[in-house]
């Protein structure tokens, strides 16, 4: 453990920012915006420093911190990251600072509250990715909903109340199931071992070794449904289009960019390690649902009128790929899945930003409201084209690397599923280019689209980092892959069938006095 608690600083700096912003008088808008952006940007810089400090050879958790929190029930503030959560962390800080930078002009009313919610949301999201204690994880998981509820509820579109209510209740329903599962394991662990703890490692060691298969199946379902709603997987996706179309663009950025990844991260961090055999048997059901999601999402996206809805369904279709990769349980598949999470985060947020910029200019989001933009807005169409190409997975850009790895991974497991999934690349090309043509190329004959001003320097400044990241990830993904891959390999070996998890209590518990009669003693071959 490094001496300076860098992770805690990263997680709670935005919260500090939110507190500072709350002290600034409301009407002093520019100062609020500056302070908010400063805090989020500093957090981003810290997370980048984390990227360099991260030692790629080790697959297990790094930068761990441990502070007993509510010791009576055994909940500790234990956090740490590994290859998988490192990049999600960076993506969160990166997108939040860009969202805040973008919101300078697009959010007019109640700027102070907006910034407070954004920074608070930033902290909760970071908290989810770093927490290694089940209760802490659940706390951040729920806390994250609150700011998002307000962001959509207050600054959203017309049907925002309906959308945000649906989003909130839907996710809440899922996480309640998860809470039940967590508590069940907690109490079973307490009954068996006498130690009551929420620590991830010890619950993990216990659950894989001792829970009978049937209960593990139900517990897995508890977790799986909660995360499937978040991802979203096929049948649970109806909150997505409403939430995306009604959310304000900065809200969209975080909603699509990061909240969706939490579902997948949840699978990776909790559902799969806790129930390895069950999740392996679940490859087919979840794989099929993911593939349905890909095709179904793409087909629906093709007939959408509203650009945000189109992007929402395209994101739903892309996420199907990620889930497929994750559940392939192959080295390349999972690494591809994690990498694709970052790619998807970048391309979706760029798409939303571009739609936002159009919306700022014309107040309209419909695809047929525009035409021939590349004439009056060449820079905009160039950016839009690059983003579209990245999201349909053109080689040389980031989408392709992730997609190819996923398809490669899944190919090892099931060829038919890969074939159907890869039709997704055709479908995504169809609806994306259809949208691009309607927006940028053809000028509608019936009416003359007034000349829209091209992107301002600020807007270009926002988009350039994302586009650069796309090219970097597409052409030279080595630094990213070399960091993700060890943790994925570690995850696969841990969940390999027949691999008996030596029930070593996490090293934090060992320094505490463990009562004599513990299940550690009673274990065979201890």
């Amino acid at each position: 453990m490094t001496d300076i608690p860098i992770l805690s600083i990263i997680v709670f700096l935005p919260l500090l920012g939110a507190v500072c912003v709350s002290f600034i008088p409301g009407q002093n808008k520019p100062f609020i915006k500056l302070v908010a952006f400063l805090f989020s940007f500093i957090t981003f810089l810290l997370s980048v420093s984390l990227f360099f400090l991260f030692n790629p050879s080790v697959g297990t958790f790094q930068f761990m911190e441990f502070v007993p929190w509510i010791s009576s029930i055994g909940a500790n503030y234990s956090i740490g990251i590994d290859g998988i959560s490192l990049f999600l962390l960076m993506l969160t800080t990166f997108l939040t600072s860009i969202a805040i930078l973008y919101s300078f002009r697009s959010i007019g009313s109640k700027v102070k509250e907006f910034m407070i919610f954004m920074l608070f949301l930033n902290t909760t999201m970071l908290g989810v990715f770093v927490s290694l204690d089940m209760l802490l994880f659940y706390l951040f998981w729920e806390a994250m909903l609150i700011p998002m509820y307000f962001l959509i509820g207050i600054w959203g579109g017309e049907r925002r109340v309906y959308a945000t209510m649906k989003f909130f209740l839907y996710t809440m329903f899922g996480s309640v199931l998860m809470l039940a599962a967590i508590l069940y394991i907690y109490f079973m662990h307490q009954k068996a071992t006498g130690i009551s703890t929420f620590d991830l490692q010890s619950l993990l060691a216990y659950s894989t070794a001792y829970l009978p298969f049937k209960t593990r199946l139900f517990l897995f379902l508890g977790f799986a449904i909660a995360f499937a709603i978040k991802v979203p997987l096929f049948p649970f996706h109806t909150w997505l289009p409403d939430a995306y179309t009604e959310a304000p663009i900065p809200g969209n950025l975080l909603l699509a960019g990061i909240l969706v990844k939490m579902g997948v991260y949840g699978f990776l961090r909790f559902a799969i390690p806790f129930f390895p055999e069950v999740s392996r048997d679940f490859f087919y059901p979840i794989g099929i649902l993911a593939v349905i999601g890909i095709i179904y999402g793409a087909l629906i996206a093709y007939v959408q009128k509203d650009m945000k809805k189109l992007i929402a369904y395209s994101s739903f279709s892309q996420v199907g790929f990620i889930m497929l990769g994750i559940f392939s349980f192959t080295d390349t598949g999972m690494t591809g899945g994690v990498l694709q999470m970052i790619n998807h985060g970048l391309s979706i947020s760029a798409l939303f930003l571009l739609v936002g910029m159009l919306y700022d200019r014309t107040g309209k989001r419909g695809i047929n409201d525009f035409g021939g933009l590349s004439g009056s807005m060449p820079v905009f169409s160039a950016f839009l084209l690059i983003t579209i190409l990245s999201s349909i997975g053109l080689p040389g850009l980031n989408g392709f690397v992730g997609e190819f790895l996923i398809l490669l991974g899944v190919f090892k497991v099931n060829i038919a599923l890969t074939a159907i999934a890869s039709t997704g690349i055709i479908l995504s090309a169809i609806y994306m280019l259809w949208m691009f043509q309607k927006v940028s190329y053809v000028t509608p004959a019936d009416r003359e689209v007034k000349k829209l001003p091209d992107l301002s320097l600020r807007e270009i400044l926002i988009l350039v980092p994302i586009i650069l990241m796309m090219f970097w990830l597409g052409l030279y993904p080595k630094p990213f892959l070399s960091r993700i891959e060890p943790s994925v390999k570690n995850l696969i070996t841990v969940t390999a069938p027949g691999h008996f998890v030596a029930p070593v209590a996490s090293q934090f518990l060992s320094d505490k006095k463990i009562p004599e009669k513990t299940f550690l003693k009673s274990l065979p071959g201890k």
Binding site: P235, T238, G375, P378, G396, L405, I425, V442, K478, L481
Partner: protein, 632 residues
């Protein structure tokens, strides 16, 4: 071969990339011709380097002419590793020379052609990007990098076809091209996955060296891989099922059609099949498929070409048919013949397209045969170069087309079982080819001048490239003379174990094919010059057939009805009915159900005090009752 040279190969690709970026970004501030000049120089530089590499490679003994230079690790995931590296060997060298030379000439031509174009620099940046991705495709040393070039080329063709984006037809054509390419790439991608699955690596050397060891001759996997790869080639090189995008691609500027849809991109499919010939050797089934698809496409598109009126459409169909020939060549294991035809075709088809461009330039963009005639006197240079191109296309002795086409036909003749049928169909197609090309020449250049048009010869910058290409169209042939057959010996280290034909067989087939092509020219001459009324009467007699050919066998309409309409109906069904009603409905329904239920429960509170007292009493009774049971 010293290392500086090897590193310089990277610059073959990097120069056009820098050119494209520079021209793209700095485009607005560059004066009109400057952007074009920079772009042409970057392509010229890469041509110089490729020639330089060619000469240094020639010095080495034949079997040492292979270099695999890895620049950096592109996608390292555990034991899955794909490098970013180039593979220099005679085949890729020949290809980069052909590609860079033809594109250099076309760049010069388009400086003149696109002079009064508003987005001048954007055009050149796309063109440079295209050349860069084509060179990357050809130089790649593993399938993934090949796929990257493959899709890059597809992207640039999308951008360039839809260059005049305000025209709806151009934008649609661009999108159609990209999507159909994408369908082909779908098969290609699955092929790559299967390759990695069987060989655990995507690098050419690894795959080709242990292909014969792992896969037995004619094994299922080999056939599957090759057919999937061929699906990609069909998509890219516009062969039978996926060819519909090429005729529409003529919406783009003519130099684009010349470069992309004649010389370079469409030949990528042929190059890929030639490159993976080791795999194709292993499965005779896919060899047969390649040959058959090739020859049938050739015949099919030649038949359509005969009746079209738009000169660019005619050339487009002729390209498809010539590609059919190349695939025939490669299908019958005459890889060097296929590549040779690819080279000669690149020259004379680019020439034909550029001539068509200068005709359009002269007659204010007019492409319809019925409105063009008697340009011989006004466009002398274009006329003569076009005639040379036409001769070379129809395989007139002495021109490049003659040697390359007959080389293929000879090999086709020799192949066992179905060889004779292929050869026969090939001969007929040769006749059709010479007929439709000379039909165009006679209509456009002979006869009296149209009244209102006042054609003028294109400026020097455009006619000079025509002359160069015309020379190449002729000299190019002597590389492949039956006796010396330089090209075959140059490529032989790449295609080991392919038989060299005995010259007498070649002589026999040459004679027959010559007769057929001359016959085609004579019929065209007779039809359109001796008595122009004949074509009209022919049309009336074979009206049905004529209508069928004119509307391109109604293929577009069939595709529309089979794929596009049901697709749209299905997605709108999903969007409006399924998603909105069932899934979303289910969620809202649960919400409403809870609401209605809570409505019922609300009625309990009547407001009367005594009702409440009664309920309390009932509660008390129940409690006591429970207590009583406990007492026993």
């Amino acid at each position: 071969m010293n290392s500086t040279l090897l590193n310089s190969v990277l610059f073959v690709v990097l120069f056009p990339v820098f050119g494209s970026l520079f021209v793209g970004i700095a485009g607005k501030w560059l004066k009109k011709p400057l952007a074009g000049i920079i772009a042409s120089c970057s392509v010229g530089l890469s041509f110089v380097i490729s020639v330089f590499t060619f000469f240094s490679l020639i010095k080495l003994p034949p079997d040492l002419r292979f270099f695999d230079k890895v620049f950096f690790q592109w996608v390292p995931v555990g034991h899955f590793l794909v490098n970013f590296g180039f593979y220099v060997d005679p085949l890729s060298l020949l290809m980069i020379m052909v590609v860079s030379s033809v594109s250099f000439v076309i760049h010069l031509y388009s400086i003149g052609y696109m002079k009064d174009e508003e987005h001048f620099s954007r055009y050149f940046s796309y063109l440079n990007l295209f050349v860069a991705s084509m060179l990357l495709l050809v130089l790649a040393d593993n399938f993934l990098l090949l796929f990257m070039g493959w899709e890059g080329v597809g992207l640039c063709s999308y951008l360039l076809i839809g260059f005049w984006f305000h025209k709806k037809s151009a934008a649609d054509a661009g999108r159609k091209a990209f999507i159909i390419n994408r369908i082909g790439d779908f098969g290609f991608l699955l092929g790559i996955l299967l390759i990695y699955h069987t060989f655990k690596s995507l690098n050419y050397n690894v795959v080709f060296s242990n292909a014969p060891l792992i896969l037995s001759h004619g094994s299922g996997i080999a056939t599957a891989i090759t057919l999937l790869l061929f699906m990609g080639a069909v998509g890219k090189s516009a062969q039978l099922p996926l060819y519909v995008w090429l005729p529409d691609a003529m919406e783009g500027p003519t130099p684009v059609s010349a470069l992309i849809h004649a010389a370079t991109m469409v030949t990528a499919g042929v190059y890929m099949v030639a490159r993976t010939h080791v795999l194709y050797q292993l499965s005779p089934v896919s060899m047969g498929v390649v040959a058959f698809v090739g020859i049938i496409t050739a015949f099919y598109s030649a038949s359509i070409g005969m009746v079209q009126f738009d000169i660019k459409r005619i050339l487009a169909y002729s390209t498809i048919s010539q590609l059919g020939y190349m695939f025939l060549g490669v299908g019958v294991a005459a890889y060097s013949a296929g590549i040779f035809h690819l080279m000669s075709h690149a020259f004379f088809k680019a020439l034909l397209f550029l001539c068509a461009g200068s005709i359009m330039h002269a007659s204010a963009g007019e492409t319809d045969l019925r409105k063009l005639s008697g340009l011989r006197k006004y466009l002398p240079v274009t006329f003569w170069t076009m005639v040379i191109g036409a001769l070379s296309l129809s395989g007139f002795p002495g021109t490049a087309g003659f040697f390359s086409k007959d080389d293929i036909l000879a090999h086709a003749y020799v192949t066992p079982y179905y060889g004779k049928f292929l050869w026969g169909l090939g001969i007929i197609t040769a006749a059709l080819t010479s007929f439709y090309i000379f039909r165009m020449i006679f209509i456009v250049f002979w006869g009296d001048k149209q009244k209102e048009s006042h054609p003028h010869e294109s400026p020097k910058i455009m006619t000079f490239p025509l002359i160069i290409l015309a020379l190449l169209a002729i000299i190019g042939g002597y590389v492949g003379l039956p006796e010396s057959n330089l090209i075959h010996r140059f490529l032989s280290p790449v295609f080991l174990g392919t038989a060299v034909l005995s010259s007498n067989v070649e002589l026999k087939t040459i004679m027959v094919s010559l007769v057929f092509s001359l016959g085609g020219i004579a019929t065209a001459w007779y039809f359109y010059l001796v008595n122009p009324s004949l074509p009209e009467s022919m049309k009336k007699k074979a009206a049905g057939l004529y209508k069928l050919l004119l509307n391109k066998y109604f293929v577009d309409e069939i595709y529309e009805r089979i794929f596009v309409l049901p697709g749209r109906k299905l997605s709108s069904f999903f969007a409006d009915v399924f998603d909105a009603k069932y899934i979303d409905g289910a969620v809202n329904e649960t919400g409403k159900w809870i609401k209605t239920n809570s409505e019922q429960w609300r009625k309990i509170h009547t407001g009367y005090l005594r009702n409440y007292a009664l309920i309390i009493l009932i509660g008390g009774i129940l409690l006591l009752g429970f207590l009583m049971t406990k007492i026993h």
